[in-house]
């Protein structure tokens, strides 16, 4: 269990460290202040995973350092039941002159393990790291991936109560990453708490129970990973839009229910309004569920509040984890929709085949103006997730399959010998 209560941290920035002494002696201020964290509170229960996301410099590393105890907060309290380990100690106490075996001992000791504990875990650590004969070689002969293997193997075997997973994991090859993820999941199943710090938003959505979004040292959003990640992405739309109109990002207040269709967009200037969004089945009836493999028509009525010379319309379908299953827009499809004048409403209709695996999906709609590159826009006028929910049901006539969608495979089998 990890609990942070109103944790704040500022760094005093001195031009040189000796200014700190000058300050004490002369009682004058020689620093500028950088507020790294402000009033951070959260809790991770046993067996839970918390995702921490945010842009570079948002305060993620400072927060981790305070949680692990290497930095002291200005105010607030941190409580951790037991030990926090993770790859953030990658290479700490690793001595490049010593062999892997010796480093296991030194590193495990730094993590606070006792001699008997180290002795009993050593074989498990060696087995897990799978370094073969290299375990007896000095660390200076290791690749960075091999060092990461060793560091991870020690960290996960150090009986932590909380494990920090960060980007350092991506140093490993695909095989070992999978192995790490399995070990982390086992650890969670045994009641460990996990802090997941990553820029891989799909992973955050797939692995975390909760997420919090840091920006400028503050928690600006906290809740279900899917929602928080949406918010994070919206911040980027905000940033990539360099136009003259300030962009208002609004968070949906309700998580589960689809947003009312004419509510303010998640991102965008709001100069285009979604009047209506409907899903129609093959018979043209408005539906909220459809059989897999059946035709589906998605209709959006969009009202422009200003002239748009090169408008484009986007559609997206996301699964219940918030993973995008399919998304495209008219620009990417090579279309050139007609310009819009203020006050005009367009009816955009996408006709697709819903060959998705059964499950719950949600609709995303976006409107941009003046495309460039491979699918970016000078202006984002409307962009919002979860505008409508769609339930896809099993088509009893189709093959049985797993994954995301039916690729309609052909198969042929021949005896060749």
């Amino acid at each position: 269990m990890i609990r942070a209560e109103h944790v704040s941290k500022h760094f005093r920035l001195y031009r040189k460290p000796s200014d700190r002494l000058k300050e004490i002696l002369l009682r004058r201020s020689y620093h500028s202040v950088h507020q790294a964290l402000e009033d951070i509170s959260f809790q991770v229960d046993d067996g839970q995973t918390l995702g921490i996301i945010g842009q570079n410099g948002a305060g993620k590393s400072t927060l981790l350092k305070i949680l692990t105890g290497v930095l002291l907060p200005d105010s607030g309290r941190v409580r951790v039941s037991g030990r926090i380990t993770g790859l953030l100690e990658l290479g700490t106490g690793f001595n490049l002159e010593m062999s892997g075996i010796e480093n296991i001992r030194a590193n495990a000791m730094l993590l606070g393990m006792g001699a008997d504990q180290i002795a009993s875990r050593r074989e498990a650590i060696i087995d897990f790291a799978e370094l073969g004969e290299f375990i007896h070689e000095p660390l200076k002969t290791y690749s960075s991936g091999m060092i990461m293997r060793l560091a991870f193997a020690i960290a996960i075997h150090a009986d932590p109560s909380c494990f920090v997973v960060d980007e350092a994991l991506s140093v490993g090859d695909a095989y070992f990453q999978q192995k790490c993820m399995r070990a982390i999941q086992d650890f969670r199943a045994r009641g460990g708490s996990i802090l997941f710090v990553s820029h891989d938003m799909s992973a955050v959505k797939a692995l975390c129970d909760h997420a919090l979004l840091l920006e400028g040292g503050r928690i600006i959003d906290q809740g279900l990973p899917k929602d928080v990640v949406d918010h994070y992405h919206a911040m980027f739309l905000h940033r990539s839009h360099q136009g003259d109109v300030p962009v208002v990002i609004q968070r949906p207040t309700e998580h589960a229910a689809p947003r009312s269709q004419n509510s303010a967009p998640l991102a965008g200037t709001g100069e285009v309004e979604l009047v209506k969004l409907e899903m129609l089945n093959a018979q043209g009836q408005v539906v909220e569920h459809v059989t897999s493999e059946a035709p589906l028509t998605i209709v959006a009525h969009l009202l422009a509040h200003r002239d748009l010379d090169q408008p484009h319309y986007g559609i997206g379908i996301r699964n219940r984890f918030g993973h995008s299953v399919f998304e495209t827009n008219t620009y990417c499809m090579g279309q050139t929709p007609a310009a819009l004048t203020a006050g005009e409403t367009v009816r955009v209709e996408w006709r697709v085949v819903a060959n998705l695996i059964k499950g719950d999906y949600s609709m995303t709609v976006g409107v941009g103006n003046r495309p460039y590159g491979t699918g970016s826009f000078d202006e984002i006028l409307f962009f919002s997730h979860d505008l409508a929910m769609l339930k896809v049901e099993v088509d009893p006539d189709a093959i049985r399959y797993d994954g995301y969608f039916n690729m309609h495979p052909d198969v042929s089998i021949q005896t060749v010998g």
Binding site: R12, V70, L72
Partner: protein
């Protein structure tokens, strides 16, 4: 920060010091051996130095080495303590260690080195038939007090050195002055009265150096008045260092 980890730091300290060398830890024996040999040959035999009022040919060697070995342990502890936080910054920045306890491994490590030198010195004393008597039982006490004092000073300079790197160099200069101001190489009787007074009242190092002399050279009980002054000074220094660290710990961690 547990005892186990501290002992491992100490062990690692020895391993690192001699790692890669063929003779390994035996260098820890060779250095004091050579030192004792040189001082014996140069001072006792070549220069014929004698202590005033003592005609034995080894008396000056005895005097010199019994002051030099503790001083080296003391000076090394202070010097290395003053850079411990910077030297170990990569660990401090990753693992929650109690900073106040970290320099202890240096104190212990220098203690072990002292023990080795002392064993060789005792061998030498055995050969020349000058083994110390009962006062020798007070040696551990004197050494522990000396190292508490060194620990306090090392910690104090260690904290300051995080903010002002010049401290490390200043400590080196200070210790050089201190070495020559303390009667380690020279005999107090030859110094002007002013310097002799300075020893008793203002030089904490003299308090323990004199105690070693009493044990090894004069074969008499150390001056307990002086030792109790050392107890106060050593603990006051340590306490001051501890308060300095606690009041600046946040900054120390931020700067590392």
């Amino acid at each position: 920060m547990n005892l186990f980890l501290l002992l491992d730091f100490t062990r690692q300290d020895f391993v690192d010091r001699y790692s890669g060398s063929v003779l390994g830890a035996s260098w820890a024996f060779i250095h004091p051996l050579v030192m004792i040999f040189i001082f014996t040959v140069i001072f006792a035999n070549v220069m014929g130095a004698r202590l005033p009022g003592d005609s034995s040919s080894y008396s000056y060697t005895l005097y010199l080495v019994s002051g030099l070995l503790p001083w080296m342990a003391f000076a090394n502890t202070v010097t290395r303590g003053s850079t411990v936080f910077l030297d170990r910054r990569n660990i401090i920045a990753k693992i929650p260690l109690d900073l106040a306890y970290l320099p202890i491994y240096i104190v212990v490590s220098e203690g072990v080195a002292f023990l080795i030198s002392m064993a060789i010195f005792m061998g030498f004393l055995l050969i020349i038939g000058k083994l110390p008597g009962e006062p020798f039982l007070f040696l551990p006490l004197v050494f522990i007090l000396q190292q508490i004092f060194a620990f306090g000073l090392g910690l104090l300079f260690g904290v300051l050195n995080v903010f002002l790197r010049d401290i490390k160099e200043m400590v080196g200069i200070m210790l050089t002055f201190w070495f020559w101001l303390t009667p380690i190489v020279w005999v107090p009787d030859v110094a002007p009265q002013l310097v002799q007074d300075f020893q008793h009242y203002l030089n904490p190092a003299y308090l323990f150096i004199a105690a070693y002399r009493d044990i090894f050279v004069h074969d008499q009980m150390p001056d307990f008045g002086a030792l109790s002054r050392l107890v106060v000074i050593a603990h006051a220094t340590l306490l001051a260092a501890w308060f300095l660290l606690k009041s600046l710990e946040r900054d120390v961690r931020d700067f590392l």
